[in-house]
């Protein structure tokens, strides 16, 4: 099989310790001036280890967050309040958490659609949010990538997806991200405080975590640690309805080639007061279809209003030929998926992928 390269592995017992390591304290080789930190964080490792085996991500030192007490906790005691999910909470624990299932069923479904059960038992919610962007020219072995002289995302000069593109077009692959963004979730980022031995932190809306650039796809600074996801309490207070649709080849394992997440707030009469529509996998970052969401405000969810919003949502999607299915067809599916997911938001229909609708007897 593919082999991992040699590296140092540290498993700190506290966030402070982890932040100190990331800040270069205690690892002499870690912070040569002007160089990228050869230190990487790992949680479940379901993304990093394969990437390191294929040698398109590398690290001198890997810092595991898995032995930090409490970082996997899910705090949902206040039925009206926000839910706090620790970054290393396993995807399966998130998906099966009774409070999350009750209050954010579409989010639970989005998480449950990630990969396959064994990987959800290993992968973490924080890891899914920080998932490296993907591309069929990039997620390949060292030997394969040498065969194309690498690509813009790593070591190469050209983005083979579109050779005239000045930026990397690798696509976002997180299922949790578009759903959390639609729900208005925030994330907490912690880093070492300059010199004093403590830590500083900032909390940002999840949409601000991402940048539409296949290489520099996170606004999180390398020395920051994503420690917590905060699901707002207000989301379930009003008439918020949410839904998640995912397009992929198979009923399991596959990354999304298109996902559509919506959260819609309605007044007592069913008139939309706020609508967030976020697409996954059709750009380097989750794509908020703000125009489409705004068009729904003041209207009821009818076939007509949904069709109009879906048409507007199509504009923010830029699918390329760097994942499964024909790119043009994927683009054509955006309207259908957004229409479907909005219809689902009206009735709380569940997530969908092509083969999940089949009968099993």
């Amino acid at each position: 099989m593919l082999r991992l390269p040699a590296f140092d592995y540290i498993a700190p017992k506290s966030i402070e310790e982890a932040a100190a390591i990331l800040a270069g304290e205690g690892t002499a080789e870690a912070t040569a001036q002007g160089q990228a930190l050869p230190v990487r964080l790992v949680a479940g490792g379901t993304d990093l280890w394969p990437n390191m085996k294929r040698r398109h991500q590398s690290a001198k030192t890997v810092v595991s967050l898995m032995e930090i007490p409490g970082l996997a906790d899910i705090q949902a005691n206040d039925p009206q309040g926000e839910i706090r999910i620790g970054a290393t909470a396993l995807l399966s624990d998130v998906a099966h958490h009774p409070q999350i299932r009750a209050r954010y069923p579409a989010f639970a479904e989005a998480v449950e659609s990630i990969s396959s059960p064994p990987l959800r038992n290993m992968g973490t919610i924080g890891g899914n949010l920080c998932l490296d962007t993907r591309c069929t020219y990039y997620n390949q072995t060292e030997d394969w990538r040498r065969g194309i002289d690498y690509c813009l995302k790593e070591k190469g000069k050209t983005c083979w997806v579109a050779t005239s593109s000045p930026k990397c077009l690798a696509h976002t692959a997180s299922d949790a991200a578009p759903m959390l963004q639609a729900l208005g979730a925030r994330v907490r980022l912690v880093s070492r405080e300059g010199g004093g031995g403590g830590t500083s932190e900032r909390t940002i809306p999840i949409g601000e975590l991402y940048r539409n650039d296949g290489i520099d796809y996170l606004t999180k600074r390398p020395e920051e640690i994503l420690t917590e996801i905060l699901l707002p309490g207000e989301a379930d207070a009003g008439h918020c309805r949410s839904a998640f649709w995912k397009l992929r080849r198979r009923g399991s394992i596959d990354f999304a080639v298109l996902s559509a997440a919506v959260a819609v707030w309605m007044d007592g009469g069913g008139v939309v007061t706020k609508a967030n529509i976020v697409l996954g996998a059709v750009a380097s970052a989750p794509s908020a279809a703000e125009e489409a969401g705004a068009a729904l405000v003041g209207q009821k969810l009818t076939e007509e209003s949904i069709r109009e919003a879906a048409g507007l949502a199509r504009k923010v999607a830029t699918p390329f030929d760097n994942t499964d299915f024909q790119a043009q067809w994927r683009g054509g599916m955006v309207e259908r998926w957004v229409a479907g997911v909005l219809g689902g938001a009206g009735t709380l229909l569940s997530s969908f992928s092509p083969s999940e609708s089949q009968e099993h007897s």
Binding site: M1, L4, P5, Q140, G147, D254, Q358
Partner: protein, 866 residues
């Protein structure tokens, strides 16, 4: 062990009146055959104790990795090991200079080297090997080897191969970069088309795909004293590997021992001798320590030998009643960079076109191109699923055009059992009619086809496959399968056979037959299989040959042992030997069951009487009536038949579709173990669904002004899409039993045939659901959508190829059919025609029997001259 299923009521047992029955022992109720007995390797497999090749480890064992070409075509300028040598644990290296002798599965295309000596022909071609004390070190060392190349122009398609005769990918070929060209005509093709009321012409395309066995190829070679080496490998064909090793290592075959480990799936992907196997053996001999090589998944995609991408042009003349008057098939195969089984694959795209429906006149033209991609070869169905897809889809179109039910169209033109086809294939039993009726009844096809709501559809298709290739890969007069039994006073029956278990259950078939004849339990047997030092030759697990060929050999060996024991026991008990029954671990008098011996005592009696006990059995298929050049591909002792109806659901808004239910009937002759047989049927259905729904071994170039790259699009299990069990619909299987005289207990094959009808049945079902024809596979949603868009615009509701590569197939071989009074030879056989390159070593599959006999005679004469 579950209570055995008995086919007949013991009360009606014919052995009760032995005087009326000359062979009572055979007529007794069967204990194992026809029962769902637990497979003999089942417990080890489910508990994880089976030793696959990668599970083996030996003291001082080193790990070997291959350095593979990163360019699609070029000559090797230099190989620099200096960085690799510095890696701690590095032990040594090999290059093409160490393995200069070419090899290949077919004697006509020995065009491979264990390591490329001078030229690389695809991304993945191995150029060097490194060994180290650990797998990690070997992996780093392989990455550190620097190879420099001078690139050559590359060919990525059949069209490019035709347009680019030079430079050649290989020095030998039929014509430029066309590896093989075939043209043969059986009967009056012009007359047939002239007599037709309607003529249908279609173009089809079947994309290549790969086997995707769960187990990645692995080999461990252990050197012994005196230049001996034992090679454990995941291989379907230990005998052919044995021959290749002897050739390349330049060692007498008697000093090489090949042991095929249990295979974690093969499907044809482990039936070539492979470069990594030879490299492991060479490295072990060079370093004097055991050497292991385990491929990673990407390398398995480069080993490939999978389904050829095939473009097809098909022309069929029919009467208004729907009888075929003439059929013309052209196939263009994208062969990849090496020969592999490709010459046979080319013939196979045409050979079995005639074995299902009456076809009085038939023409086949085919070609195989060399391209700078991993070599294609045999995958489940070997060369036949592609034309079968075309034929069965075209028949669906014909039925619709003639206003007939597709099932009835087929039923009125089925071949007759035991008949000889236009291309001189001798058929055996044919129960295709029963297969069709079974799936039609099960699915309600007659009532529901054409009447389901929009988005739901039913499709029907048929298929047929060999029960073992009639000829071995290399020409010889020896048995194609051998079984040896050793029985001694312990009561243990040791069964030796060269067959290779690849998960299909061949060990269980072997055990079931021997246990049946000798009336013992499976636990009384000790199997020793696939060990070239110890077991008699069996050619391997390919061409669906094992059950029939090994089964017949096993039957013969066991019956000989039974007769020997019966003679001794008969004399001891003073009972006529033919009145003795072997059952329930006893040998007893049919007319007085109390009178008898335990099996062990019976063996003791025989050992005392005859000395050490051992028997052998062997099998050679009957001769085929075809004598024209190329007649060696297609003959089989008999053929299996399948019919399937698939129900699909299609979303006209997106083109997304999926199978809802599969009904499949398989004419198996007799199911030796119905559970194993159904497992094979379902596996074939699954693999067929994968090929029609999503699987494709696809390649990509980069913009030519920027890069010369020609790479596999996604050599990984994640991005090469294959269905998961979530995507698998329910399958209803009907085993159609009509014992065939050629098969052991009447058994025919089941490993490959059931795949064949699945793809066209899905395409036909999509048409029934939404009125769109997709004439290629896999059928992606955008194709369905495009066809529906065309329909909306009033155009032909079709998605598929629009062109077919035009090429000269060479002179057409003209063969009179049996109905025309032919004798199986060609009218215009051109034996003198020289093909370039490897003509001198042309033997085996590609030789006629006459040629081989001439060669044998020449060889004999030479020996006599000495």
């Amino acid at each position: 062990m579950a209570e055995p299923l008995r086919k007949e009521d013991p009360a009606n047992d014919p052995i009760e009146d032995p005087l009326l029955d000359p062979e009572p022992a055979i007529e007794r109720p069967l204990r194992w055959i026809g029962t769902p007995f637990r497979r003999v390797d089942g417990r080890a497999k489910v508990t994880g104790t089976t030793k696959f090749a990668d599970d083996l480890t030996f003291p001082r064992m080193c790990h070997v990795k291959l350095v593979r070409s990163r360019i699609p075509h070029g000559t090797i300028r230099s190989i620099d090991f200096s960085a690799a040598e510095k890696i701690p644990g590095y032990l040594g290296s090999l290059t093409g200079a160490d393995t200069p002798i070419p090899f290949g599965i077919l004697p006509v295309s020995m065009d491979e080297h264990a390591l490329c000596p001078d030229r690389v022909r695809f991304v993945g071609d191995p150029v060097a090997a490194v060994a180290a004390t650990t797998e990690d070190a070997a992996y780093e060392a392989a990455l550190a080897v620097i190879v420099e190349y001078d690139p050559l122009p590359t060919i990525a398609s059949v069209e490019q191969a035709i347009a680019t005769p030079e430079p050649r990918i290989h020095d030998y070929s039929d014509d430029g970069n066309l590896h093989k060209k075939v043209s043969m005509r059986f009967g009056d093709i012009e007359g047939g088309f002239a007599a037709a009321d309607r003529i249908f012409e279609d173009l089809f395309f079947y994309e290549g795909n790969t086997h995707l066995p769960m187990e990645q190829h692995a080999t461990v070679a252990v050197p012994e004293d005196d230049d001996r080496v034992t090679v454990w490998s995941s291989t379907q064909t230990p005998h052919y590997l044995h021959r290749a090793l002897a050739k390349v290592l330049e060692l007498p075959a008697s000093r090489i021992r090949v042991i095929a480990c249990s295979n974690g799936g093969g499907f044809g992907g482990k039936s070539d001798p492979f470069n990594h196997e030879i490299v492991a053996a060479k490295m072990a001999l060079q370093l004097g320590r055991p050497a292991k090589i385990v491929l990673h998944r990407e390398e398995v995609f480069y080993c490939h030998r999978g389904r050829h991408p095939v473009q097809m042009r098909m022309k069929t003349g029919v009467t208004k009643e729907g009888k075929i008057t003439a059929h013309h098939l052209e196939t263009a195969l994208d062969g990849g960079a090496y020969g592999s089984y490709g010459v046979a694959s080319t013939y196979y795209t045409g050979a079995l076109e005639t074995v299902t429906y009456e076809m009085p006149a038939y023409q086949f033209d085919g070609l195989r191109a060399f391209t700078n991609k991993p070599p294609c070869g045999p995958k489940r169905g070997h060369g036949t699923p592609q034309p079968r897809f075309g034929l069965e889809v075209q028949l669906d179109k014909i039925a619709v055009a003639l206003g007939q039910n597709p099932a009835d169209l087929r039923l009125q033109m089925l071949v007759a059992p035991e008949s000889i086809t236009a291309n001189w294939l001798k058929l055996g039993s044919v129960s295709l009619d029963r297969c069709i009726e079974a799936v039609v009844a099960g699915s309600g096809y007659r009532e529901r086809w054409g009447h389901l709501p929009e988005g739901r559809g039913l499709g029907l298709a048929c298929g047929s496959y060999l029960c073992g290739a009639g000829l071995p890969i290399y020409w010889n007069h020896m048995p194609q399968s051998g079984v040896q039994l050793k029985i001694d006073r312990s009561g243990c029956v040791a069964v030796f056979c060269g067959e290779a278990e690849i998960g299909q259950g061949s060990d269980s078939v072997l055990a079931g037959i021997v246990a049946e004849v000798l009336g013992v339990d499976l636990s009384d047997l000790r199997l020793c299989v696939a060990d070239t030092d110890l077991t008699p030759v069996d050619l391997g697990s390919y061409s669906s040959r094992v059950t029939l060929m090994m089964g017949n050999a096993a039957l013969q060996a066991a019956e000989r042992a039974r007769d020997l024991i019966a003679k001794a026991v008969g004399d001891q008990l003073e009972v006529p030997a033919d009145r003795l029954v072997f059952a329930e671990r006893r040998v007893f008098d049919a007319s007085d069951p109390e009178k008898g011996l335990t099996f062990q005592d019976a063996v003791i009696a025989a050992e005392a009487r005859f000395g050490t006990l051992g028997t052998v059995g062997s099998y050679i298929p009957p001769r085929s009536p075809g004598k024209y050049r190329g007649a060696g591909v297609g003959p089989s002792p008999t053929y299996s038949y399948s019919a399937s109806v698939v129900e699909v659901e299609v979303d006209p808004a997106t083109g997304l579709w999926h199978p809802v239910h599969v009904w499949i009937a398989h004419d198996i002759g007799r199911a030796l173990n119905p559970v194993l047989a159904i497992g094979q049927v379902e596996g074939g259905v699954y693999m067929g669904l994968g090929e029609v729904m999503m699987e494709e071994q696809a390649f990509r170039r980069l913009p030519r002004h920027l890069s010369n790259a020609l790479v596999h699009k996604f050599p990984s299990m994640l991005e090469y899409k294959s269905p998961t069990f979530l995507d698998m619909p329910p399958v209803t299987t009907y085993l159609i039993e009509d014992p065939d005289p050629q098969g052991p207990y009447g058994a025919k094959e089941v490993g490959q045939g059931p795949l064949l009808p699945i793809l066209p049945a899905c395409a036909n079902a999509i048409y029934d659901a939404v009125g769109a024809r997709v004439d290629q596979v896999p059928i992606h949603p955008h194709m369905v959508l495009k066809a529906l868009d065309a329909k909306k615009k009033g155009n032909e509701p079709r998605y598929g190829p629009k062109t077919f590569p035009e090429a000269d197939y060479g002179e057409t071989l003209l063969v009179k059919t049996p109905a025309q009074g032919g004798d199986g030879t060609a009218i215009n056989e051109f034996r003198g025609k020289l093909r370039s390159g490897m003509r001198g070593v042309a033997t085996g599959t590609m030789s006629t029997r006459d040629e081989a006999l001439r060669q044998k005679k020449a060889l004999t004469t030479k020996l006599e001259d000495r």
